[in-house]
Amino acid sequence: MSSTEPSRRDFLFIATGVAAAVGTAGALWPLVAQMNPDASTIAAGAPIEVDLAPIAEGQVIKVFWRSKPIFINHRTKKQIEEAQNVDVAKLPDPQPDSARVKPGHEQWQVLIAICTHLGCIPLADQGPYDGYFCPCHGSVYDTSGRIRQGPAPLNLALPTYEFLSDTKIRIG
């Protein structure tokens, strides 16, 4: 038999190696996966309902869903106009205000209050764009929660939510 031909011994050697590698990976996986959110954490992330009726115009409230702070901003007419009258193409993360609120509910802005830079909570009604300002590294968001200045790469994220009635939303 030619020495360059793979032998049965070569096959057995490689097959054993593959079995050992797969077995090791299988044994390591639980050690890695245990770090992910556990069943109770996931269960606690069920949707929540928020009553909007007590929120006055111009007021921002903060609720928590899945441990994440969420701003519900009852925007004033001036703030809505400022958010709409922007040249969208010039924004770092171009998005019209209409894509960031529910149609017919332009006064209600619901967003995840986590700065897209490194996760601090921005301050509401602050900064040169009358929107949000992150004190950690100076990112500035406008009244639509879009990034305008500073190191954050993206607009403030929007949670999944829907209007159950005109004064009630379900987040999640």
Binding site: M35, N36, P37, D38, T41, G45, K62, F64, R66, S67, K68, P69, T116, H117, L118, G119, C120, I121, C134, P135, C136, H137, G138, G150, P151, A152, P153
Partner: protein, 420 residues
């Protein structure tokens, strides 16, 4: 290298043990008769100080762990209980918290010494890289330890630092969730940080053993950056290095004690005495002083991914230093140009530290950018080019002539050093 003598115990039990486990012989050849260059100055004592600080941190840390509760509802109060109720708890915690600062201070001096005298150059590349790995482990361990008191700074430091990983394209967000064990920093995060904060110092101790092993293979560098050639160039570790290390360790402990007993909170942040509140970010968050230069580099760059990349690169670039510095001459003593660039680099590092503590606005950002450029240019442009163009001073023939001068007949005017 010369100087290794065979350890021959007189005691019958030690003779019996030596034939079975030559541990006393190993200690004798490593810490007693081990030949050290005779021209070592006090900058060479920081390795011993670092070993001492690692011991202090492990001992105080293990004791603190006996009183601490790693749970979001109890962590803050358990630290306060250590401070108020536990016997000598205030002392142990202040030793541990300020010990971290002293540990980093000694590590930075140790590294600047290595850079000034070219200690990372052939054949000490692996020794240097192990040192950079130790720094990286210290940074991770220190960060996790800072999270444990679960004050406002703890919580938001954990949030900001773990979010650095969210800059990684595609897999960033899943990695952050995986690190947290939830949808935000919470109890699972605190628990795993506690487990890892307890584990990593022992990993550090393990890498220190490798660091010492590598050191004992290649031998110590010295202020003249030339290899010892014969017994006139070296002295025995004990008593010469031992007594020098002990003296500066004592001086260092005075500084340590001054912090612990007089200004124990000087290096901390008042905000960390406010319990963690996931709903409010403190208006001005800064890391501990020993991370500030890296933090300044992160903030100097107005792009998230590039900023995080620069932060990581500022540490990893150190690993390539042995090959970035192209000069064959080790010591800055014989490199007049390098010496000037080096001191500018030191000023830049300290300047970045100062800028990291300032708010990210106006001229602070401008200077942080200039200093960041110099930081990377030093490694990536200045050192590679300097080694090719610099005219170095002539090196002495041996360490003995560097110390004693050319005219002295060795062995006559200067008797060979005493050997243990």
């Amino acid at each position: 290298m010369s100087g290794h003598t065979t350890y021959q115990p007189k005691n019958a039990f030690m003779q019996w043990l030596e034939r079975r486990l030559p541990i006393a012989g190993l200690a004798y050849s490593s810490f007693v008769v081990y030949p050290t260059p005779r021209n070592l100055n006090y900058w060479w004592t920081f390795g011993g100080i670092l070993a001492f600080m690692l011991g202090v941190q492990i001992v105080t840390g293990v004791v603190l762990a006996m009183h601490y509760t790693p749970h979001v509802d109890y962590a803050f109060n358990s630290v306060e209980q250590i401070m108020r109720d536990v016997n000598y708890g205030w002392l142990l915690r202040y030793l541990h918290a300020n010990g971290a600062s002293m540990f980093f201070l000694a590590a930075y001096i140790h590294m600047f010494r290595g850079m000034y005298y070219g200690s990372y150059k052939e054949p000490r590349e692996v020794l240097w890289i192990l040192g950079v790995i130790l720094l990286l482990l210290m940074i991770i361990t220190g960060f996790m330890g800072y999270v444990l008191p679960w004050g406002q700074m703890s919580f938001w430091a954990a949030t900001v630092i773990t979010n650095l990983f969210s800059a990684i394209p595609l897999v960033g967000e899943p990695i952050v969730t995986w690190l947290w064990g939830g949808y935000a920093v919470g109890n699972p995060t605190l628990n795993r940080f506690y487990a890892l904060h307890y584990l990593l110092p022992f990993v550090i101790a393990g890498v220190v053993v490798l660091h010492l092993w590598a050191l004992h293979v290649v031998g110590q560098n010295n202020p003249d950056g030339i290899e010892p050639q014969n017994e006139y160039d070296t002295v025995a570790f004990t008593p010469y290095a031992t007594i020098k290390d002990t003296f500066l360790l004592a001086v260092f402990c005075v500084l340590f004690a001054w912090f612990v007993f007089y200004i124990p909170n000087f290096l901390g942040h008042p905000d960390n005495y406010i319990p963690a509140n996931p709903g409010v970010t403190p208006t001005h968050i800064v890391p501990e002083w020993y991370y500030l230069p890296f933090y300044a580099i992160l903030r100097a760059i107005p792009n998230k991914l590039l900023g995080v990349t620069a932060l990581a690169a500022s540490i990893f670039v150190l690993m390539f230093l042995p090959w970035l510095d192209t000069s064959k001459v080790r010591s800055a003593k014989y490199r007049p140009l390098y010496r000037q660039f080096f001191w500018v680099f030191v000023v830049v590092c300290i300047g970045l530290g100062w800028l990291g503590s300032k708010p990210p606005e106006g001229n602070y950002v401008l200077f942080a950018r200039i200093f960041t450029v110099y930081y990377f240019a030093y490694f990536l442009i200045i050192l590679p080019v300097l080694g090719r163009v610099e005219k170095t001073k002539p090196l002495p023939n041996s360490i003995a002539t560097a110390v004693l001068g050319e005219g002295v007949a060795i062995g006559a005017a200067a008797p060979p050093p005493h050997r243990a």
